[in-house]
Assembly symmetry: C2
């Protein structure tokens, strides 16, 4: 189909499609004349992925290009491909973070977190430092309990990642990682109210 039809089918404005072509996010169509190109179903799928990366995924154009290149020439290991996608949606961690404590926790739990994702280590270190500063004391084993609970969440999520194509897997990982965070936080707060009702309404 021509670019106007590609725009109609995908719902993406022509100007955006041209921008993605210029930025090498979307592969060129097959030229049928000096000024016309034909696009296929694969272009529709790719547009859907580009929109996911740049929209909810919050990736820069450069990061999105990197992820798309990895999809087009995927590394041998799916784990490496998904790690790259995962790293792309990880915001830079605060610089002043004390990573030693986090490395110790990873060792205790037996979690292997990729070195390139040290931003994640920094994010956890900063969150734990804020907790300390506040003077809030978790009960003994509180952090281990959270780790076990979040591992259960993550394990089920990773089991759900579709492996039909690298593109589908990456799209699922990026959208699922980012978009489920507000869902989980809202669910936790609502569940706290129900749990508080169960505990304290019985006491009063």
């Amino acid at each position: 189909v021509r670019i106007s039809e590609l725009s109609r089918v995908s719902g993406v404005p022509i100007a955006s499609i041209k921008f993605y072509l210029r930025e090498h996010l979307l592969p060129e169509g097959r030229l049928t004349s000096a000024t016309q190109a034909q696009y296929e179903d694969t272009h529709v799928a790719r547009l859907r992925l580009i929109r996911a990366l740049l929209g909810p995924g919050g990736l820069s154009v450069a990061k999105a290009r990197e992820v798309l290149q990895a999809i087009d020439s995927p590394p041998e290991s799916t784990h490496d491909l998904l790690g790259l996608a995962h790293a792309a949606v990880t915001p830079p961690g605060p610089l002043e973070a004390d990573l030693g404590r986090v490395h110790a926790l990873m060792g205790r739990w037996g979690w292997r977190v990729q070195g390139k994702d040290c931003d994640l280590h920094a994010a956890l270190a900063a969150a734990l430092a804020a907790l300390d500063d506040s003077g809030l004391e978790l009960p003994p084993g509180g952090l281990d309990r959270y780790a076990a609970q979040m591992f259960a969440v993550a394990e089920a999520e990773v089991a759900d990642v579709p492996t039909s194509t690298p593109a589908e897997a990456v799209r699922y990982v990026i959208l699922g990682t980012v978009l489920l965070e507000p869902v989980l936080l809202a669910l936790r707060r609502m569940a706290q109210q129900e749990a508080s009702g169960r505990r304290f309404d019985a006491l009063t």
Copy 2:
């Protein structure tokens, strides 16, 4: 002790203490002359709470005053007191949210979330709408699974709330609700990497 000593012991600058006095967050000391007042240990504890509310809790002065008044004249039910604290740290939900779907979910899970916290309903509704818009499809029962997992998290947290005094309970709820969110999100992302390694490194 005098205000200078209260500042030293609590680590809160004198100017801030005077501001809290003016805003009726901190009760006046016992006047020992026209210009001097004496402060007690209770003032130190109250300062710690005020700092938690205004700092990590992110409350406005007006919201903090409301929470402190509830602590000073606590409602009969601890659940109501904690619900008030919980509501104070809930950001206003987006207005355009479709609440019907969330009410249906609450009914399905048997969760009783207080009406005054409809901001929480709106937050979940908006998060689910963003998920829909992205085209990400959770597996069947995926949302129910998240709800069950987050309920387990919340139930253990609520069981940990200290009930020695209303002030301690409120402080724990406010700090725990807010400050553990980044901890949980970082743990989930790190756990995803470990889980991905377990699933996909075995496959390649």
